[in-house]
């Protein structure tokens, strides 16, 4: 693709129960494969998508959260999580997966950042394209 724009994908839904979380990830991976600049936001029930130790075998789904580990390879390394959404659900940052990416200098950095609603507003305003799932 000749040009690129900045995409933000906002995830508000739980990982299982509806298909939207999985389909959002499919869109994000394609955008990454097309070398677009992608930022992810997880809020409301979307924060559950990033929790560790998911085991959906009982409902016949595969644990697709493992795919989040590959995001760094697509240069998707700006992942913001809404602090209030975590707090309301009794979750802490340590309940979330450790997602990392490698900088151009070869250092490993954490991709997830827990931010406030105000900061999210600024982040959202900075994007060209908003996808909302």
């Amino acid at each position: 693709m000749s040009s690129s724009k900045s995409f933000i994908c906002i995830n508000r839904k739980a990982p299982y129960g509806t298909i939207y979380a999985l389909e959002a990830l499919e869109v994000v991976l394609i955008a990454g494969a097309f070398e677009q600049q992608v930022t992810l936001i997880f809020m409301d029930d979307g924060v559950y998508q990033l929790t560790r130790n998911q085991n959906p075998a009982g409902i016949g789904m595969k644990n697709f959260s493992k795919t989040f580990g590959a995001l760094g390879d697509y240069d998707i390394d700006q992942i913001f999580v809404d602090e209030e959404s975590l707090h309301l659900r009794g979750l802490k940052a340590s309940d979330l997966q450790l997602l990392t990416h490698e900088t151009t200098a070869g250092e490993e950095r954490v991709s997830i950042k827990v931010v406030s609603r105000n900061e999210l507003g600024d982040i959202i305003e900075s994007a060209d394209i908003l996808l909302n799932f």
Binding site: K5, F7, I19, E23, V27, I30, F34, L130, L131, N132
Partner: protein
């Protein structure tokens, strides 16, 4: 295209097909999403051994790359849905 809303209700799929026909619009459906929901064009139906195609007129099946490309070349992307 096999939806049959009550006669006193609007037929949304029909409205979309008419809108596209009258305005020469592209209406693109993601292949993976369509398959999950049981919506197939003739090619997909043949490929998966299904007895019939059921995608409404003026809708076409394609890949997510088209969504990304459309977003990049357009002035504005508007997203609906909860």
């Amino acid at each position: 295209m096999f939806n049959v809303p009550p006669s006193d209700d609007r037929n949304i799929q029909q409205l979309w097909s008419t809108l596209a026909e009258q305005n020469s619009l592209d209406m693109v459906v993601c292949a993976a999403a369509a398959q999950r929901r049981g919506i197939l064009d003739q090619k997909e139906a043949d490929r998966h051994g299904k007895p019939a195609a059921n995608i409404a007129p003026h809708f076409t099946i394609s890949g997510l790359g088209q969504l990304i490309e459309a977003a990049v070349v357009s002035d504005r992307l508007v997203v609906f849905g909860g």
